[in-house]
């Protein structure tokens, strides 16, 4: 870990990697991330030219495009103390995959490693780097939690969001029958094999329903849009939200896939 420790008196400079889905579909997630990071004592900057981490290209085998986007992200973000994304899969892309992708690039290989070492998924950054224990709040509700695959297996994010949510009074977290299982999104997989993706998403929706919780939380918008999309198609009234929104106390914004 090459991260700077959170020392009192010096506020770390954070480059917020908004992620394309939060930017385009759900800005409330990014605003929530900003609030959480500021409350934890960080200074936030949002590099204006950011777009996408390159994951769709990378996972589709378009390495040339993925490299081009990765280099742009490195250029825009390498000057910060830390880079934080409200997504395990985008943070995982930078942290785990950029160094592999750019390993043969003389100008960028080292820079990719350096950026990787200081890039974090939001909840794990708050707990593991900033030392936040639990976040105070109040929500009289039971909630299921969906662990996203990339966050869980690439970054080891499992306990961190639960720890943060532990400070929300009245919130009762319920575990899914198969917390390690994929929701069926898989990026372009969801449109390449819609029937299989739909069947997997349906099983996830079923397990969420079985918890009896009226709310499901998670840390990745890709999964959450898939889960919400399937729940709504089934006619479910279970609400879907990004964990950052609940932690930041934003419950006024309509849940994912719901109107005003």
């Amino acid at each position: 870990m090459t991260d700077q420790p959170a020392t009192s008196g010096s506020r770390p400079r954070i480059g917020l990697f908004v992620t394309c889905l939060a930017d385009l579909f759900r800005p409330s997630v990014a605003f929530a991330a900003v609030k959480l990071l500021e409350d934890a004592g960080c200074d936030i900057e949002v590099p204006p030219g950011q777009t996408c981490c390159g994951q769709p290209a990378y996972n589709s085998g378009d390495d040339a495009s993925a490299k081009r986007l990765a280099r742009a992200v490195i250029d825009a973000f390498e000057g910060f103390d830390h880079v934080v994304a409200p997504s395990g899969s985008c943070a995982g892309m930078i942290r785990v995959h950029y160094p592999k992708l750019l390993g043969g690039d003389a100008a960028y290989a080292r820079r990719a490693e350096q950026l990787a070492a200081k890039t974090h998924e939001l909840t794990s950054f708050l707990t593991d780097v900033m030392g936040v224990g639990a976040i105070a709040g109040r929500l009289e509700r039971a909630a299921a939690y969906h662990d996203s695959c990339a966050g869980l297996r690439e970054l080891g994010v499992r306990a961190q969001p639960r720890q943060l949510l532990g400070g929300i009074e009245g919130l009762e977290l319920r575990e899914l029958a198969e917390p390690d299982a994929c929701c069926g999104f898989g990026g372009t997989f969801s449109v390449k094999y819609p029937d299989i993706s739909g069947a997997i998403a349906d099983e996830k929706a079923e397990q969420i329903t079985q918890t009896g919780a009226p709310l499901v939380l998670g840390g990745d918008l890709g999964c959450l849009m898939n889960i919400a999309g399937r729940l709504k198609r089934r006619g479910s009234r279970v609400e879907v939200r990004h964990v950052a929104e609940v932690l930041a106390g934003d419950l006024d914004t309509p849940p994912i896939g719901e109107g005003d």
Binding site: D23, L24, F25, R26, P27, S28, A30, K35, V46, P48, G49, G54, P56, A57, Y58, N59, S60, G61, D62, S65, A66, R68, K100, C149, R153, E154, D180, A181, C182, G184, F185, G186, G187, T188, F189, S190, K192, Y193, P194, D195, I196, S197, G198, I200, A201, D202, M225, N226, A228, G229, R230, K232, R233, T253, P254, I256, G257, E258, G259, D260
Partner: protein, 472 residues
């Protein structure tokens, strides 16, 4: 054996609406996953053993020529014979020649995926030999004219009602009043038929989980004991194995067996772990008169030293299949390849060429659970991505999703154009979402909205709002 992998989409679609199959696939989850987890939790050093297992295979593959020739020397010294087969055809011919030389009429077989890979049964049957699978699952699949749907549980796609039906149809002397409704009765019926085959067989063919260079032994791990009868009763025993099954020492084999059984079935060790070392020696109470090992390459040696070498570490436990969300939902047959699931989607393009198997690397959400449970810690998702990269590079510019991906990437590389285009798109989508906040059907996004609504965007992008000074 070139199974058809090109119709994965249709086959998967059928599998998803096959109620019987879906019921049977439930057993994969309930059985394998829970049992593996329990076995892992009961062994604190399990993850350390996985590291050891990985290191043994890495070392062996780096010196594979050495260990294979040492193995060959030991087999010969024990009175056995080793036949090197570069191709599927050479392997089939080698087996047939041994059978002919033995004047064989009936061949029994223990479970062996390599014989599936080379299409051995059909070939031997064309050559007028009677071939009987003796692993219960393999036997069921054989009498149904199917192929295994799982590398360690060949008939996992079947339920007991189907099996009863198949037995009544095919076992002609079965009295109609015989009860066959529970598994014990089914096993008893299979046993009765297989006993006859064991006794009448001239040649027994088994696979091998490991080939031990130090001792010249071949090892099979089974749960039914059929492998032992297959290899000890006939006068000729043929072991079919691919070259990457070699391990240096008996100790190494023991380490691998410890992770194999736990990863596969959640057992500490399989019911039978059988070591074979050559033909019957003087004074031995039983054993074959001839002992042959057919070593199959089938493209594996050209994988050595390349980006897919790690795939040769695979010990065929099936854990990646069991934990794969795609396999869990469509089963093994949909893949159309001998080896299904994540390991199959990496291996099949290596064996058949990426053109033949181009769909397989995409049959994956990259969820990473396969890698997380692999006893050899093979980076399966990375390898599937590598196949996708090769496929992408080989595709013409306008093929499939290539133009859309290229367009997205070009846009994302140009922030101003990106913000202009995506800004307009999300305003439109927000409008379409209306007060419901979601879209049920969308032109061009039919694949998404077929089974899901599309949550509508909130309206304006975060970056635009941030630029305009909004901070919360």
């Amino acid at each position: 054996m070139h199974a058809d992998t090109r119709h994965f989409r249709q086959a998967a679609g059928k599998a998803l609406i096959d109620g019987q199959l879906q019921k049977a696939l439930g057993n994969v989850k309930r059985g394998f996953i829970a049992k593996r987890a329990k076995a892992r939790d009961a062994l604190p050093e399990f993850d350390r053993l996985r590291d050891e297992a990985r290191d043994i295979k890495i070392h062996t593959l780096a010196h594979l020529d050495l260990y294979l020739s040492r193995f060959e020397d030991k087999v010969k010294a024990a009175g056995g014979q080793v036949h090197w087969a570069e191709t599927e055809a050479e392997a089939r011919e080698a087996v047939l020649e041994i059978c002919r030389a033995a004047g064989a009429k009936t061949v029994t077989k223990g479970k062996s995926m390599i014989t599936e890979e080379i299409g051995l049964n059909a070939f031997l049957e064309q050559s007028e030999l009677k071939v009987v699978e003796t692993d219960l699952g393999e036997y069921l699949v054989q009498i149904r004219g199917e192929t295994p749907s799982h590398i360690i549980a060949p008939a996992v796609h079947l339920n007991k009602e189907q099996i009863e039906h198949d037995f009544r149809e095919r076992h002609k002397d079965l009295p109609p009043e015989r009860q066959l409704s529970d598994p014990v009765q089914l096993v008893a019926e299979a046993r009765q038929v297989l006993r006859q085959a064991f006794i009448s067989a001239d040649v027994g063919i088994t696979g091998a989980n490991f080939l031990i260079a130090e001792t010249g032994q071949t090892v099979i791990v089974t749960n039914e004991g059929n492998g032992d009868l297959t290899q000890t009763l006939p006068k000729v025993h043929i072991v079919m194995a691919s070259i990457e099954k070699a391990v240096p020492t008996l100790e190494d084999a023991s380490t691998l067996i410890r992770v194999l059984a736990r990863s596969a079935t959640g057992q500490e060790i399989s019911t039978y772990t059988t070591f074979s070392a050559g033909p019957r020696r003087e004074g031995d109470p039983d054993g074959p008169q001839e002992f042959h090992v057919v070593l199959l390459d089938n493209g594996r040696s050209s994988v050595l030293g390349g980006p897919f070498q790690d795939m040769l570490r695979c010990i065929r436990c099936g854990a990646c299949l069991n934990h794969c969300p795609i396999y869990q939902h469509v089963g093994g047959h949909a893949y159309g390849s001998v080896y299904p699931g994540p390991m199959g989607s990496v291996l099949t393009p290596l064996l058949q060429g990426v053109q033949e198997a181009a769909h397989l690397p995409y049959a994956c959400t990259l969820c990473g659970r396969c890698e997380a449970v692999c006893p050899e810690r093979i980076a399966l998702p990375d390898m599937l991505r590598r196949w996708r990269a090769r496929d992408f590079a080989a595709k013409p510019p306008l093929a499939g999703a290539k133009p859309a991906l290229k367009l997205w990437a070009a846009l994302a590389a140009c922030p101003r154009a990106y913000q202009l285009v995506t800004g307009a798109a999300i305003r439109l989508l927000a409008l379409l979402g209306g007060r419901k906040g979601r879209i049920g059907r969308l032109p061009l996004m039919g694949a998404w909205t077929k089974h899901r609504d599309l949550p509508a965007p909130q309206g304006q992008s975060f970056l635009a709002q941030w630029k305009a000074g909004r901070r919360k």
